[in-house]
Each structure stands twice: as C-alpha cells, then as structure tokens.
Amino acid sequence: MSTAIGRLELPNPIMTASGCAASGRELARFFDVSKAGAIVTKSVLLRPHAGRPTPRMAETPSGLLNAIGLQGPGVDVFLQRDLPWLLSRGARAVVSIAGGGDEEYAELAIRLSEAPGVGAIEINLSVPNVASRGGRDFACDARAAAAVVNAVRSRARYDVPVLAKLSPDVTDIVAVAHACADAGADGLTMINTPRGMAIDTTTLRPVPAGGPGGLSGPAVRPIAVDCVFRVHEALPELPIVGVGGVTSGLDALELVLAGARAVQVGTAIFADPSAPLRILRELEEALDGHGIDRLSDAVGLAHRPPGTVGVMRLGESRRRVDFDDRH
C-alpha cells in the first residue's frame, strides 16, 4: 500500500488532514501515529496566533462549519516541542504552513528546512492575502497562489516536497492547479474547505461567530472528488493528495480512483479519533476486493474511457467477452 508524493515516500496513503490532528500528540492516545502514512500538522504560523472568537463551529447536515482562525503557538514552539515529539514517535511529518504574505511563507519554509525530519511542506493557501484588496484568500487567485508556491519552493530545502492545498471556491481549479505546478509545486492537496454559513435561529446571529466558516465533512466529498478528477485529468503526472469528507475506506477509494495518490482524513477524526487506521484497513480491503494489489494501479482508474471492462487486472483464467448489439 506504499505510495509517494514526489520524494516523500509513505508506507500507506492515509494521512490526517491539517487542523484535525493538532500536532499528533492528542491522537497518539488513540492510535500509533507511526502507522498512518503521515501526520499533517495544524497550520504553523511564524508567531503565536489566538484565533477567532467563539462559537467557532456549527454542525450542518453531514458537515461542520468551522472558523478557528489558525490558533497556534507559532513556529518556535512547533520546532522546539511538536516536531521533535512527532519524529520521536516514528511518524512522518507533513507540516502545514500559513502566512499573511509571500515573505512569511518563505521564512517558514526556511525555518522548517533547517529542522531535520520535515517530510513535506503543505501550503495552506486558504488564508487572507494581506496585500490584496479585501483580503482575498491566496487560493482564490491563481497568480497570488503561484507567488506563494514559488516563494516556498525556492526557499525550502530541495529534497522537501512542497504541496499546495487548493480551495474549491474558484471558477477554474484547473487553472489554479496549473499555476501552482508551474510555480514548482511538487504536488497538490485538494480540497480545502469551501466557505459556508449557518444562522442560529435562536440568537438570530451567524455561526461561526462573525460570519462564514469552512465547510468540511461528507457534505463536501463530491466537490473533492470532482476537483481531484478534473485536475488529475489535466495534470496526470502531478501527485494529488485527496481530502474532503472521507469517513470510510470506500470514500478514500473514490478519491484514489479520481486520481489521488494519498488521502487525508479530517472531520471523521472528531467523532472517531482512530478513524485514520480504520479507513486504511477498509481501503486495503476494498482494493483487495477488486483484485488490486498496488495502490498505484488504482490511482486515476475512474478516468478510463466508458465501456472498459470493470476490473483492470483480469485474472489469467478469465476471458474477456464482447457482445455484439447488431444482431
């Protein structure tokens, strides 16, 4: 079940999703973090960040709206406390980073490259671009996203893969994907949470507090499958990490069939803290059920033209049967 995202080699394709596993320590009480393909950390910023006011979440049908506001202690504490802990447990660390402008992302890339053991950097682009009019997210503007990718790729150590995490809240995600690939991204993570809002009919106010949140959970899975499918079609060689509402092994398989080489598990962890390893087991069983031995044989399999026979690797004993409709 091994897979690779650029130079990052993973024993299996199931990762945690950023913001749903903190820095791994909390979840290590429920499963062995070294057994996951990788632990993707909550986005790390240069300085401590207090985040947004509460309430920070609202449960919606098959989904969850959140507006945490990137609360965290900053990169110093991360490097001093969280990263060494993750590595000491034998986990592969994919570090998510977020900043207000290219320079902050670049500085984070440098700081993380100096620390040994960072498996990959995932750029959280769903962050307001301080320099843009109205503070538009980097992910919503192909040029701004590419500038950040370029800043990180050029400063990060050459052997640390850089993943750009894209938002579905764009007119043309393929264009953003192309821009990020051209800027040097070693892979793409799709999708970040689309924006959403709920209004509390008791208090008559929006939840999360102060406006929109990011929507996660099974509600967004079809959006994720579509984004992965379209980008894999346009950029078949570029590694994609699929994420969005994965709750079971079959959900993970959907993203793999759409073109993902690895799959992240996020919101499912909230109600089932050991979900990543359960989903890994279920994915293995599902692939086995289809007679697929290697994950790479399943990646993008849904792209085959219509009419192709169901299972890719037919056993030697089975013969293909063609039917003639014109009789």
């Binding site: 009480r29 429920f30 110093d76 909230f270 109600a271």
Partner: protein
C-alpha cells in the same frame, strides 16, 4: 503508574432512564470506568453508521460502577437531533464512547470543608466528586439550582451524601426562589467552607467564583463549552484563561479543562479574544511570553 489515557470503545447500553427533565444512560465501558476520575467527561458518537452528525457529543459522567466489568452513566438533556437520538437508545444498542477526557477536579490533600455547586444537569459530575471527598474525610455541602424543580438534578443523592443540601429554583417550585448564588454566601459561612467546586452554565460559574474570591476560598469550576471533538484537536472549545506566568491564553476546555481555577478564567471575555491574549491581533511577544508554558 496508573494509565490515565482515554480509550475509545464500543459498548452496549445497559440502562436508559428518565430523570425529571433529563436522561441518564449507562453503557458498558470497562476501560473508561476504571480510568475515570471525578470531573472528567466522555464523548459519544451520535446517529449510528453513516450518521449525518459529524461531531462528538461531550457528556457529563454521573457515575461509574464496577458491574459488568465497568459501566459509565452519563446525564444529558435531549436538546437537538443528536442528543434526542441518544435519548432514544435502548438496552443492548451499541454506542461508540471515548473517555475519560479532560482534567479532573483537583482534590484537597487534607480533610477540609467543601461546598459543591451545580446548575441544572451540571450537578451530575459533582456526585462522584462528593463520594471521593467524603472518603477522604471532607465535609460536603451541596447547593443545587435550576429554573424549576424538574431541572434540579440529583436532589435525593445530594441529601444523602452531603451534610446539608440547599436547593434553589427560578420559579420557587423547589427550595429557595432565586439563584444558587443567592444562598451560596450563607452556605459558605455555615459550613466554614475551605474550597468551592462548581459546574454549570458560565454566568453561574462567574458569580460563584466572585463569591469564592470574596470569602477568599479557592474555586474549582468545570465549564460546559460546546466541542466538536473533546480530544484536543479541533480548537472550538477555547476560552481565555490566565496561566501560571500571568499570560492569557485561549485554553481548550476539553484538554486544558474542563476544570479550571475559577479566578483564572476571564469570564467577562469569554466568547472574545482579549486584546492581551497570547497571539491576539496586534499582540507583540513580550520578554516573558515564550508561549511554551501551558495555560492554567
């Protein structure tokens, strides 16, 4: 050393009972029962397989017992679709439970006098605490309150366990008409209280803390914040808490709490990011604010 890590388990429902306005449900969960300490909570996944409800529900633990290898009873009010689903469970139905979670109530070293204050079903976690305190030779006095008699949880147990039990209701249907804080000063004086424990809604905890500070006794309060995970990863249940170093941090109710020293919680700033909290907008790193020290 005893294992204090929480466990994730699937266990059968043993009993479901209606307690006035609330529901009490017990489930077989040996790992949780054996690790539990008063003040800790559990989460339950609701809605069954392929549920449309994606967050865990944090619940007050009322009691743990050693029968059937270990059972856990939690108390809740069936508000909203998730807890209504939970209230509809029947014996032998399977439940996914995670616990025990959070920091328990710190216990006094010596046999001191303790006042336990509960609002609504927030009194549920105080009974296991009361039993523990009594075993250590502490005097326990209860003050329980709610809007009406049906919402005061555990009056019988409170009368049985405690030296005195005082009840307040908003409509006067049980005990004194008013709030727990109306009678609390008298109870503190009469019982010569050395420490106050409280669990309930935030305004009640704020007022209890103010009274405890006036009488110069420590207040250990358990907050009831809304949570998505209960395990410390989602960061939705935060509140401003002053750490040992004097720095305010947005602390997680689930892992840094739910029990905090009352005077450390910035009650008037709950629901906001105070301007001087670590990492607040415009915040500048000071010489002492390394950010490594843990809140509370």
């Amino acid at each position: 050393m005893r294992d204090v890590r929480p466990v994730q388990t699937r266990g059968p429902v043993l009993t479901v009972r209606r307690v006035d306005s609330y529901h009490a449900l017990s489930v077989v969960a040996p790992g949780i029962a054996e690790r539990f300490r008063p003040g800790q909570f559990v989460t339950v996944a609701v809605g069954g397989e392929r549920s449309s409800m994606v967050t865990a529900r944090p619940l007050h633990v009322h009691d743990v017992k050693s029968d059937y290898g270990g059972t856990v009873e939690f108390v809740f009010e069936a508000t909203g679709p998730g807890l209504t689903w939970l209230a509809e469970r029947r014996p032998r139905d399977l439940l996914d439970v995670v616990g025990p979670l959070g920091r328990p109530f710190p216990l006094p070293r010596d046999a001191v006098n303790c006042v336990l204050v509960g609002g609504g079903y927030g009194s549920a976690p105080l009974f296991s605490l009361a039993h523990t305190l009594r075993r250590r030779g502490c005097r326990v006095d209860f003050v329980l309150g709610a809007a009406d008699a049906g919402r005061v949880f555990g009056t019988l147990t409170a009368r049985r366990v405690a030296e005195t039990a005082t009840f307040t209701t908003g409509d006067g249907s049980l005990g004194v008409r008013g709030r727990v804080t109306d009678v609390l000063p008298q109870v503190i004086v009469d019982s010569r209280a050395d420490v106050l424990y409280a669990c309930g809604p935030m305004p009640m905890l704020r007022d209890c803390t103010a009274i405890a500070m006036k009488y110069e006794i420590p207040a250990q309060v358990a907050v009831e914040e809304s949570m998505a995970c209960g395990t410390g990863v989602c960061m939705t249940c935060v509140l401003p808490v002053i750490g040992d170093d004097g720095v305010t941090r947005m602390a997680r109710a689930c892992t840094d709490g739910p029990v905090f020293r009352g005077e450390r919680i910035r009650f008037d700033d709950v629901g906001t990011i105070p301007y001087d909290a670590l990492g607040a907008p415009g915040w500048k790193p000071g010489p002492d604010a390394a950010g490594t020290a843990r809140g509370a």
